[in-house]
């Protein structure tokens, strides 16, 4: 719950927390939203209490309420990442077929996903590093391919400092041309017909630093770049 303070008061010093808090603003009232495993799940902690949003988890639930501590958990109630969650008034449970019916038939307004790589044409790779780590795609292929809007939350570079925003993906794809926006620990970047466009910067990060950490050209606006 400490994260909530970052939302209501001054900005966190931690760039990842700022990224997550900024991503939370992407959610408009009334949306149906799926938050992918990992960083995206943390977005839930940055939504104001009572915010009108229907959160979906692909293991069979709409209307996710706050995450629960171990002591209060219901053994039958997890999200797709295994976190113990709670119901809201109006929650519904359903099977895995219905859960993806919702995704594929266009009832999901927004999904936020993690990434190994994102390309400047909107391609996404997040399920397989051949020979190293192949966890499987879970529900990511359908989420990426069918949500009305797909955004990515990711560190701007991997642990070795290599860029994750690239001219083209090198890993097996999850979906092609579907990513609209990327939230990182340095910036907000849009995918446009011309490639990556820098939209916002985290306070204290320079355009030069972001460009150097990016594996493709960042198009700049002709106005000052807002910070977050």
């Amino acid at each position: 719950m400490a994260l909530l303070d970052d939302n209501s008061g001054g900005k966190s010093q931690d760039p990842r927390t700022r990224m997550v808090a900024r991503a939370a603003q992407e959610i408009a009232p009334g949306m149906v939203v799926n938050l992918g495993i990992g960083l995206p799940t943390k977005v839930i902690d940055h939504l104001p209490a009572g915010f009108p949003v229907c959160l979906h988890t692909e293991n069979g639930m709409t209307g996710i309420g706050p995450t629960l501590p171990f002591e209060d958990a219901d053994r039958n109630l997890i999200d797709a990442g295994g976190a113990y969650v709670s119901p809201l008034p109006g929650t519904a449970y359903f099977d895995s077929a219905v859960s993806f019916a919702l995704v594929r038939s266009g009832r999901l307004d927004l999904t936020m996903l993690g990434a190994f790589e994102v390309a400047e044409n909107g391609d996404l790779a997040n399920w397989k590093i051949p020979g190293k780590f192949s966890p499987g795609a879970g529900g990511a292929i359908e989420l990426a391919q069918k949500a009305r809007r797909v955004v990515v939350l990711t560190t701007h570079t991997d642990r070795k400092g290599n860029p994750k925003l690239l001219q083209s993906c090198t890993l097996p794809l999850t979906a092609t041309g579907r990513v609209a926006r990327i939230f990182t620990d340095m910036a907000v970047v849009d995918v446009t017909p011309c490639g990556f466009a820098l939209v916002e910067l985290i306070d204290g990060v320079t355009v030069k630093e972001v460009q150097e950490a990016t594996g493709a050209t960042l198009h700049l606006p002709d106005h000052d770049i807002p910070t977050f």
């Binding site: 009232p29 009334g30 149906v32 839930i44 939504l47 009572g50 915010f51 009108p52 949003v53 229907c54 959160l55 979906h56 639930m61 709409t62 209307g63 996710i64 309420g65 706050p66 119901p87 809201l88 008034p89 109006g90 929650t91 519904a92 449970y93 359903f94 077929a97 219905v98 993806f100 019916a101 919702l102 995704v103 594929r104 038939s105 266009g106 009832r107 069918k146």
Partner: protein, 230 residues
């Protein structure tokens, strides 16, 4: 987090249906037929409709009001033997009729609701219902390609609804309602009862509210919802 209220006056919900719309209508016989929504559709005189429904109801009931008023251009149906008006409209060429095997109609609607493009089946392969349909071969077997069906609007009768649109159904009034409630761009529900958010056990929800667009309060359950003496 909280869930939005989708309660809408029926007149307003039906007013947004266009002439020429493709309309799915729940129900199998009397149970589950959204009689009040149908009446409002007739009252507003929406025309040139394509109606997708299991059956044509009986003369003087349900979608027969649409058919008799000449508002139905095409009917996609599995059975219309109980409605002489529908048979006449078909035989006299006033209404186009497309017959579908009942379970395949259900699966095509479900496929539409599930965001699939089609199903492959051997049902009806040796019947005239297969005429004109794409056939493909899989593992040496011939199979019919039955395309998914979606509608512009689905008219649904439920037992209970909450304001978000979570629905329950009773007994054999369920039939086509849950699958149609997933397969339309706009899903309009007439529930017999509206309960507050949280009034339906989340394990008992049959149609998750995320599929539903408008919940229209019913003023009363009329005679036509009742037991028919035959």
């Amino acid at each position: 987090m909280s869930l939005p209220d989708k309660t809408t006056p029926m007149e307003e919900a039906v007013a947004a249906i266009s002439d020429g719309a493709v309309v799915m209508v729940g129900g199998f016989g009397v149970p589950g037929t959204p009689f009040t929504l149908i009446h409002e559709l007739v009252r507003q005189g929406k025309r040139d409709l394509t109606v997708i429904k299991n059956d044509a109801n009986e003369a003087g009931m349900g979608i027969d009001h649409l058919i008799s008023a000449g508002l139905v251009r095409k009917l996609v149906v599995t059975h219309l033997g109980l409605n002489a008006n529908a048979i006449s409209a078909m035989n006299e060429g006033r209404m186009e009729v497309e017959f579908c095997a009942q379970g395949i109609l259900a699966e095509r609607i479900r496929a539409g609701g599930a965001g699939l493009q089609a199903i492959l089946t051997d049902i009806g392969l040796d019947t005239e219902l297969a005429a004109g349909k794409q056939v493909i071969e899989m593992d040496g077997k011939r199979l019919l390609v039955e395309p998914a069906i979606r509608a512009d609007v689905a008219l649904i009768h439920a037992d209970q609804a909450d304001p978000f649109g979570n629905l329950t159904y009773l007994a054999t009034a369920r039939n086509f309602n849950p699958i149609m409630a997933m397969a339309a761009d706009r899903v309009i529900v007439e529930p017999e009862q509206i309960v507050p958010l949280g009034g339906i056990d989340p394990n008992a929800v049959e149609t998750p509210g995320v599929f539903v667009d408008q919940v229209c309060p019913l003023v009363s359950i009329g005679e036509e919802y009742g037991v028919v003496r035959r």
